[in-house]
Symmetry: D2
Subunit: 133 residues, 4 copies
């Protein structure tokens, strides 16, 4: 996996495995992209007036996930407080977005796929936090 | 002020004043830009080996401030948990960046200006949190 | 102006004035924020079905303007081809967004303010391109 | 593939295949993340004074690739001029970053991996442009 190879080639690469961080990097990048796609698909639905809160949470979630991937890409020197705070915030944001997308999952496939993706990302946030030093 | 006018023209504009949010929007946008400029200026210094941690924190701080401006620009529906979390994280990130920039402020004007900007943004985060519903 | 001070404190600061770049930095940051606010305000309007294309262009414009401020913040070494290309793209994006916002300006103050901001940013892109080496 | 499923679930999904856009979405997201990781790894090298231009191009390339993924995620209504311009700019930026990373590929594995990733993304930009309506 490229993310793993990049971390291993870093002069400050941790000696212990960082599988949890690598998995989160990839989940968060996928989640950001899925949320952006869901926001745009919601906007194209006839039912858009019922989906405005979903669009808003999609956009918040995309921004938070994207910033998490940026912060986790940097392993030079310690900045674990900020990284930990961002992972916690990402878990909360993904769960809120998943809850809202779930409300529309029966009618819109994009909302169902997005809810699933947000749940996976939130779960990986929780797992990574447990292994986080 | 344009940020204030934009919020006032929003259908869900709050009836009470939102001066604290508008001020934070502008401080965070300024701080993001200043941190990016400081990172690039540090990279151009002969003393770059002593400034790598500063560059890293500058980049983290720019990403966090930028995302805060994105989240605060959205006032449709309630998402105050995520906004509050992001403001707290921004205060922490700005303070860490200011501490590191301060260590180089005597030698590099860009670090001194950046430290001051980060302190102002962190302070506005704290003020805004107190008024945040 | 802080943007000007930050550029002047850069080891590679150009000897000739860079007023056009500083003005563009500030216009693009303002435009990004205004477009995000307009997208969220449009989403809150009862007339949202008529505003979906406006929301989409607002979001594109915010992303492009934000990236322009990131690229222009870096003056270490030459990368003028990419900067020039990004300024041209920003002018085009702002003009398209302004055209769409103008169509709703009579009904929505946020669209009128956003159209004006996009026009100013596009115009500053054109001015800056003429002085760009 | 999730990106393909999300596009297919969009009310405005094109009837013809969009494989080239889906592949570019994924390449650009990977490239953004790889460039951020390479910038941070370069910063941690003892040879950082020789790598400052590489770091700068890494950061530019990450920003441009990330914005491309944002623009390509939106398929509501036509905005092909901006998308086409962004793909062309991304190809140029990736090629410049790859050229610089190649200069350090023999000494730093992260630069070799990043150069390869940037070349793949640039190539996919060129392929996608040919199929782009």
């Amino acid at each position: 996996m490229l993310s793993q190879e990049m971390i291993s080639s870093h002069p400050d690469a941790p000696s212990e495995p960082v599988e949890a961080i690598v998995l989160l990097l990839d989940e968060a990048a996928t989640c950001a992209q899925t949320c952006l796609a869901c926001a745009d698909a919601c906007l194209a639905e006839d039912a858009v007036p019922a989906l405005t809160h979903c669009i808003r949470l999609n956009n918040d979630c995309a921004d938070v996930c994207e910033t998490l991937t940026r912060l986790l890409s940097r392993i030079l020197g310690p900045n674990t407080g900020v990284q930990r705070g961002m992972i916690e915030l990402c878990a909360m944001t993904c769960e809120q977005c998943a809850d809202e997308c779930d409300r529309h999952a029966a009618h819109h496939l994009h909302c169902r796929l997005c809810a699933e993706t947000c749940r996976r990302c939130a779960e990986q946030c929780r797992i990574t936090l447990q292994t986080f030093i």
